[in-house]
Every structure is written in C-alpha cells, then in structure tokens.
C-alpha cells in the first residue's frame, strides 16, 4: 500500500496509483474521525465540596432528572437472603433467595417476567444466553437449573452439583461454576457439551470471581493464595500469594486487568492480572498497597468504570469507593444484612440483595456511558436477535481461555514448534549411534516357520540400519554447517571439508541464518 498523502496524488506514476493513494487517505481520515468522534454520552459523577459528607439517595434524587427515579427502589421480600444478577444488557434483573424465591423483572418498567417458589434454597444465579432469548441459571442446594424468560424450567444440570457461584462467559457461551465440593465446571450452553468438569483439589471453592476479559475463574484460598483456573488444566494455572491471612473476597472489573482481593486482615488489595503485581489503590500515597475496610463482609462488586461497592458495618450498610480511591463516594443503609451486590452494566445503578429483600440505589459515575454494538439497555428486539446470531458464529473455543500473565494467544509466535525443531536437530547432532549398534546382526532362529521369522527380523534390522545411516549423515551435514569449532564442541569427527577449511586458514562458515546458529558455540 502506498503511504503517501492525498496531495501527492499528482506525483503518482499512474492513475491506478493515484486512486489507491486517494482511497488509503480517505480510509485514514474516516478511521481518525471514528476514533476521535465526540462520544454520545459522558459519564456521570459527583462534584462535592472538600470535607462534605457522601450524599444520600434522597439528596441525589433531588438533584437528578425524574427519569432516573426507576433506579432507586426497595423490595421487601421474605424468603431469605437474596442474590441478584443483571444480564449483560442491563435491562433485566433477577433475584433468588435462600428461601426458594426466584424472580426476574425488567427493573426500569418494573415489569415482572416471572416469579416462582422452587422450595429449595437457591445460592447463586446468572443470566445465560444472549438478550433475545434470556435464560436464567440458578444454583439450587443440590443441582443447577436453567429457567427461561417465563420461568419454565428448561434444564436441570446435575453435573453442577452444590454450586455456590455461577459465571457466564458471553464470548465463549460457557456457564462456569464453582462448587462447595471443590469442583469446577464449564458447560457450553449453545451445544450442551461439558467442556470441563474436574475437582480442583484445593478445598471447597467458596470465594471466586470471573475475569471477563480472559474467561478465567479466580478463586481465593484460605491460605491467602489466589488461584487462576482454566478449563483445559486440572490444576490452577497461576497461584499468587495475595494475603497474609485467608482470602475473603475476590472481585474483578467487567473490563480490564484489575483484580480486587479482600483478605482476612480486612485489607483490600488491587492486583494487575497481567503481571500479577499489586496496583496502588490511593493517590495520596498513604498505604498505597492496600486500604483497610473495617468490618467489611465478604462481598465485593466492581462497576464498569472501576467503582468498588462493599458492605460495611457487618452488612448493615453498603459503601461505594471511587476507582483508585479510599474515601467513600456514597453509602446507603440496608434494611437487612447484605448478601449480594451487583452493579448494573451501562447504567449508574447498583442493586443489592439482603436478608429482607433487595434494593437498588443510584451511583453516579459507575456505568460506562458509550456502549458498542447491540448489548445495551436500549437495543431493540431485532438488534438483540442479530447480536445473538453473530455471537454464536463468533463463539470462541475454550482453548482461548488463558490468563494474560501466561501469554500465548492466536497471534503469538509458535515458540514450542521452533523449540521442537531445534531439539530434533540437536538430537540429530548429538545422538551418535555406537559401532556395536550399527554392526549388530540379529540372531538367526531355527525350527518351524523360522524362515519367515528370520526374514522379518532381518528386514526390521535392515530398516533400522538405514535409519542409523540417515542419522549419521544428517549429523555429518549439521556438523559441516556448524564448522570447525562446532564439530569440536559436539565431540564429533571433523569432516573432510571442515579439515580442508581449517587447513587452508579460511574463516569458518558464517552463520546460516537458521535455528542451527544457536548450536554454534560463542567465541570466548
């Protein structure tokens, strides 16, 4: 491609080149326009005076438009501590209670999709599938069930036994689960195939989170380790020691590389999953490695823009911390003991489940203002259907689930293949068959059917001798390429050519530019 500005088009050698240059310039201009396009929405936020208290919900409601009111509501329900989950578009909210209450509704219009009593304690839930056919996976006390938008039970996943946390990987169409028995499961929801299901042998996995950018499951262990799991490995791929005491909570941002861990010492630490090192939390430098969360119960939620929500005062209230800050942005009392927190994607709303029901509060600045594609609350039915089909076509294989720290990926250099080729060449050089092996003659048998047997054995050894001959030849060739010093280093005999070169005083052959250059010993 010609990388010349459009104004040089009159200096092009021909009309064809001028047209190509003009087209390239036009594409560059369009890309620049797209990249710098004024975004449609700007993020929310609170500008408060220094020293002012964090605002209450009533104060916020007085200062925002009426259209924001649906984000603030309270539901008093009786069936036990509730878990809440938003779907990826942010349009639907689902809840499940330990008393067996399962419900889903569109929270903006307060339109109930379904509500049922399953007569079993429900511990966790997640939306699965794409927005056009939303399905809800709920972890009951024994097995996991999948319900459709009308509340009909579609599937009972007996393999996901005693799951305490369910995760949805939208790009891989996988439902991942961590169980109290220490097992991990990855189930393909589009084909129904179990991608992986194994025992991690790291005790019950009660503290877990999903890293959405890579699809790995992170679990916190009582010995302070953070383990990263992938479906293809039955052992944690990465283990880092992140707390001096046990890990009480793990959370990840919906996008990006930050991992938040809450340790038994009540310290919140932020880690970079790419290099597995801590990220500093506060800007003022004081206690940069961690912040102290007194009386924090082990639930954490992170929003799209990095705001962190956690319960305080033993679940009696929730607190929202700004991204990279220690001073609370917002706090809100909870009618019951807090059991779950979830930020709504694409909106400045936070839902919390507690022992007496659930609630929703406004959190300015938590949602990503500009979505991409059809996965946002205002996309229509047709667009969601289209996005679902495209999502199925672009379904990634489970091999792509890998922690960023480990490296690899589709565009990575095939270092293993290169290493293998090098190892083969090295073996060809170093493995010199001994004389006795080369000159071995098989023992001749006698008796019935010995003629056939002798013939076969002879043929086999003939083939082996040919192989050894080839091996010798390739070693000679490689030694000749390596030159004088190489031959000496490898312990082999100098070839005639190498001897000639050394006698004539010529320089040894220069590097061939292939992998074999690595075998040439460096001049000391």
């Amino acid at each position: 491609t010609m990388d010349v500005a459009a104004e040089d088009s009159d200096q092009m050698p021909s009309g064809f080149h001028a047209k190509a240059a003009a087209k390239a310039a036009r594409l560059r201009r369009e890309a620049a326009k797209l990249a710098s396009a004024a975004a449609l929405e700007s993020p929310g936020g609170i500008e408060s005076r220094p020293g002012e208290w964090a605002p209450t919900q009533s104060k916020l409601l007085r200062r925002v438009a009426v259209a924001a009111r649906p984000g603030h509501f309270e539901l008093s329900l009786q069936y036990g501590p509730y878990s809440v989950a938003y779907d990826t578009t942010g349009r639907l909210l689902a809840l499940c209670g330990r008393g067996g209450h399962v419900a889903a509704f569109e929270w903006r219009q307060k339109r109930l999709m379904f509500e049922s009593q399953v007569n079993e304690p429900c511990h966790a839930l997640t939306w699965v599938g794409a927005g056009s056919t939303p399905q809800l996976a709920v972890a009951h006390s024994n097995w996991t069930y999948i319900y459709d938008a009308q509340g009909l039970e579609l599937h009972c996943l007996k393999r996901l036994h005693k799951a305490n946390k369910l995760f949805w990987l939208p790009r891989h169409w996988l439902l991942a689960a961590c169980t109290d028995t220490g097992h991990l499961h990855w189930q393909d929801v589009s084909t129904g195939q179990t991608v992986a299901s194994y025992c991690g042998h790291h005790g019950p996995l009660r503290v877990s989170a999903l890293h959405p950018d890579s699809g790995c499951v992170l679990t916190g262990q009582p010995n302070g380790q953070l383990c990263i799991w992938t479906p293809l490995e039955k052992r944690p791929v990465v283990k880092i020691l992140c707390c001096p005491a046990g890990v009480r909570a793990v959370a990840t941002a919906p996008a990006g590389h930050a991992v938040y861990t809450l340790g038994g010492d009540s310290r919140l630490r932020v880690w970079d999953i790419r290099c597995l090192r801590p990220l500093s939390v506060s800007d003022n430098g004081a206690d940069a490695a961690s912040i102290r969360l007194f009386d924090a119960a082990p639930q954490l939620a992170v929003s799209q823009r990095g705001l962190l929500a956690c319960p305080v005062r033993q679940g009696a209230a929730l607190m929202v911390l700004p991204a990279g800050g220690a001073k609370p942005l917002l706090s809100h009392p909870s009618p019951g003991r807090l059991s779950d927190l979830a930020f709504c994607p694409w909106e400045d709303v936070l839902a919390f489940g507690h022992a007496r029901g659930l609630g929703s509060v406004l959190v300015p600045g938590s949602g990503e203002p500009n979505p991409d594609g059809a996965v946002h609350p205002l996309s229509g039915k047709r667009q969601r259907r289209e996005a679902e089909v495209r999502g199925l076509l672009d379904k990634l294989p489970p091999e792509t689930i890998a922690p960023p720290a480990v490296g690899g990926g589709v565009n990575a250099v095939d270092a293993e293949g290169i290493e293998e080729a090098l190892a083969r060449k090295r073996a060809a050089v170093m493995a010199l068959p001994s004389d006795e092996v080369r000159q071995f003659q098989p023992r001749r048998r006698s008796g019935k059917a010995s003629g056939e047997l002798n013939r076969k054995v002879g043929e086999r050894w003939q083939r082996r001798r040919m192989e050894l001959r080839q091996l010798l030849k390739s070693k000679k060739r490689v030694l000749a390429e390596m030159g004088d010093e190489g031959a000496d280093a490898a312990g082999g005999r100098k070839t005639k050519k190498a001897k000639k070169i050394s006698q004539s005083g010529e320089l040894t052959k220069p590097a061939t530019g292939t992998f074999l250059d690595r075998l040439i010993p460096k001049a000391d």
């Binding site: 449609l40 929405e41 929310g44 979505p371 667009q383 990634l396 589709v410």
Partner: protein
C-alpha cells in the same frame, strides 16, 4: 446560631453537582420504519477484549463457509455423440462458443442455457482447428483428413447453413488454426507454420525448424508480428512474421501439447506439457521457464489464460481440470467429476467467471472459475461481507487450521493415489540427488533449481 445560616449560604452558592448517566431513547432508536437500525459504536479496546481470537474464529468460519459453498459444476451441455476435439469461445459475445468433434461436426452452443443452437456437418474427418474472425460473424474450421479450410458465416438469426462461405484445399494436413487479432491473417500449423491471408490462395509465409510437424501456432494478441508454435519434437518456436527464419527454438524434455499467450502481458506465454506440468515462459528470457506449474498426475492437454491474465486453467489426461494463479506453482483448485473422462480442452469465458471443458466422454461442461462465488447480483452488504471474509482468510492464511481448510480438496481415490505416487517418485528423486551430492560433492553435483531442469537448450 451563625453556623446554620453559613451552611445554608454555602448550600445555595456552592451546591453539589450531580450528573447521572441518563440515555435519551431517541438517540438509540431509528426515526422511521424506513431507516436502518442505529448501532452504537465505541472503538475503545476495553470493550473489545479477545479481538484477535474473535478475528481468528471469523477467519476459520470464512474458510469453512467458502468450502461449503464451493460447488463449481454448473452443468453439462448435452451429449455430443462423439469425442470433442476443440472448443473455441466467441471473441465478442459472452454467451456463445463453438465445439469441434472428431466426426467432423461443428456445434454452436449457448452457454447460459447450455443448449445447442446450431450444428454443422463441417468436415468428413476430425475437426482439428476452429477459430473466429475477430470482427466479422465468420468462423473457420480445418480438418486434416480432407485437408480443407472452410469459412462459415453465421447470421444474426442463427439459422443453419449447410454450405461454407469459402473453402480452400491445402496441400498439407492442418493440425491447428489461429486467427490474427485484427488483421485478415490466419496461421495454420501442419508440417510447418503457414501464414495465410484470406484474400490470397497461397501462403504468405512459412516457417519450419526441424522435420517434425507443428501442433499449434498462436498469434500474440499484442505484438502483431509475433507467433509462437509448439512442435511434435518437443520444441517451442518463436516466430517473427517479418523474418524468414524462426527467432528461437526452445528444446524441452517433453512434448508441449498446447500453448496460450497471456492476454494482458505481451511477453508471457504458457504451455501444457506431456510431463504433467505447465510452463509459463517469458519471451524475453527463454533459457528457462518463468514458472513450473506442478499438480497434474497425467499429461496436460490444454492450457488457457483468463482474460485478466492472472489465472490459468489446464485440462489434463488425468480427467481433472486445474486452476492456477499466474506465478504460483501449486494449483488453486481442481475440478473433477465421476463422469468426466480425459479432458482435452478448457477455455475461460470472456468475463473470466466461467470455464468450458471438452472431454473424451463426449460432453462439454460448464464450471465456475471461482467455486464458491455467488452467481447473481450481490447487494452492497453481501459484497462487503465477501470482501471481509476474503481479507480475513488472507490475514490468517499461515495459521495451520485455516490453511488446512483452505488448501484441502477432495480427490477421488485413484487421483489421490496417483498424487501420492507422484509425491513418492519426486521424493525419491530428490533424496537420490541429495545423497549423490553428499557423496560426490557440491561441485560435481551442483544443485539445479526446478526451473532449470526442463529445458534442453535454446537455439537461435
């Protein structure tokens, strides 16, 4: 107390600013039912994790879809009743072609309908040459048994004519025929290359090198005085009509069965050889072929360039038709059918989208040049999708999973075995050379590149 007043004043003069993210649905919905749906765009990479993997999956899907839609065979033209010897495309009309039969019949075909429009009992023996006049509605046919060259006129209403417009008796047995691009000249190949003017009865020029007959002579479409010819004694001749003697003779190892000039590059020609290869030659440097196209498992009988000059099609005695990209020695595609026997002729249509083949099972067949191409109008979105798929496949062409899908072609068992056999033969030859070189040394047994192995010599 002073303080409540102060606080009140502070509240009014310096109120807390709260901005909540609220979306206006009108920004996300289309205005009328005639508009397309709006799509939100944010190119920030945080919202597009695993984009390389997604692209790779799309490239893989594109490769798979291409193979799923690869159905190149369009149909048979109908049984001709006897073996077809020649196919000739009309120089100006897309939908017409001629075929010559071994029993002397010449048929006029409508390609889109795959139906025969007209049939003439042209000769008493095999029709050895067929070509159209470039401007007039006139075509020529020649036969070696009755040693005649006949000119036929076909009217607009395509009615049948039983007698030719003109007939010429030759004192040699013609083996092929070609008409000049613009002048009223045609070249007949028999025991020599004869140049005839349509207005004169005697040949205007005659060229010969050696004693063997000339199989085919073709005019260069750009250089009007240049002719190329292939002879029975494994030679390729280059002839300038302004000179008495041929310019060059390239002695090859095997017989070249057919030749074709590149319509876009004046100095490039391609030949189909008996040693299963095709060769493309640069007329400026004839010491060795510019490219060796290897793939057929039996003699290559015919070769034709696409009108774009970028692609070749070859017909082979091994019952396959192969398509090649100019300059790449591995074939892009291979066409075969259970019923197609030895293929003796293959021609590109004028728009480079279709291929017509004539084979020994008495049939003409129509194929697509691009096997997975959609025939018919493409909407702009379809075209964009096709272009994107093509670009993705090229980007990941080196990746093993994509490459194996893109390259793989199913072959019938006998053809596959023949291919393996050729591979084994070639491998054996190469290994032997390597061993010889190791034993005797580089100077006594130098490495000869593929290109230099096929030419015995060039004579001037």
């Amino acid at each position: 107390c002073l303080f409540p007043v102060l606080i009140d004043q502070l509240n009014t003069h310096w109120p807390m600013k709260v901005k909540l993210l609220l979306r206006n649905p009108q920004d996300y919905l289309r205005e009328t039912a005639d508009d397309i749906h709006k799509l939100a765009r944010n190119p920030a990479p945080e919202l597009h994790p695993m984009s390389a993997e997604t692209e790779y999956v799309r490239a893989l899907n594109a490769a798979k879809l291409e193979r799923m839609f690869a159905k190149p065979f369009l149909g048979c033209f109908g049984d001709q009743g006897d073996q077809l010897s020649r196919v000739c495309m009309h120089p100006r009309a897309l939908s017409l072609c001629l075929s010559g039969c071994v029993d002397g019949r010449v048929a006029f075909w409508n390609i889109p309908r795959r139906s025969r429009v007209l049939q003439l009992d042209a000769h008493s023996g095999c029709v050895q040459g067929l070509c159209w006049h470039p401007e007039q509605d006139l075509f020529y046919s020649c036969c070696d048994t009755d040693r005649t060259l006949k000119a036929w006129r076909v009217g607009d209403d395509l009615t049948e004519f039983s007698r030719p417009v003109s007939q010429r008796h030759l004192d040699f047995a013609p083996l092929n025929l070609d008409h000049h691009v613009s002048k009223d000249l045609f070249a007949l190949s028999g025991d020599a290359v004869y140049l005839y003017d349509s207005r004169r009865s005697d040949p205007v020029g005659q060229w010969k090198w050696g004693s063997d007959s000339v199989l085919q002579a073709r005019f260069n479409p750009t250089e009007w005085h240049l002719l190329a010819a292939v002879t029975k004694d494994n030679a390729l001749l280059l002839i300038d009509t302004r000179q008495r003697e041929p310019l060059r003779r390239i002695r090859c190892e095997f017989r070249q069965n057919a030749l074709c000039w590149n319509p876009q590059e004046p100095f490039v020609l391609a030949t189909a050889s008996d040693d299963y290869n095709l060769y493309s030659w640069d007329a400026r440097r004839l010491a060795s072929p510019a490219c060796v196209y290897r793939g057929h498992t039996n003699a290559a009988m015919d070769v034709d360039f696409a009108p774009t000059g970028r692609e070749l099609v070859s017909a082979s005695y091994d019952c396959t038709v192969r398509l090649w990209e100019s300059g790449r020695s591995q074939s892009r595609d291979v066409y075969h059918t259970k019923r197609m026997y030895r293929v003796f002729a293959a021609r590109y249509s004028l728009d480079a989208r279709f291929i017509v083949t004539a084979s020994a099972d008495f049939n003409l067949r129509l194929w697509k040049a691009r096997a997975s191409e959609k025939l018919g109008a493409l909407t702009p979105r379809e075209r964009a999708a096709v272009n994107t798929a093509e670009a993705l496949k090229q980007k990941y062409a080196h990746h093993p999973q994509v490459r194996r899908i893109v390259q793989h072609r199913h072959l019938p068992k006998r053809l596959y075995q023949a291919q393996l056999e050729m591979k084994a033969i070639r491998g054996k030859q190469r290994r032997k050379e390597v061993n010889r070189r190791e034993h005797r040394g580089e100077d006594k047994e130098p490495f000869v590149p593929e290109r230099d192995r096929h030419v015995r010599g060039v004579d001037e």
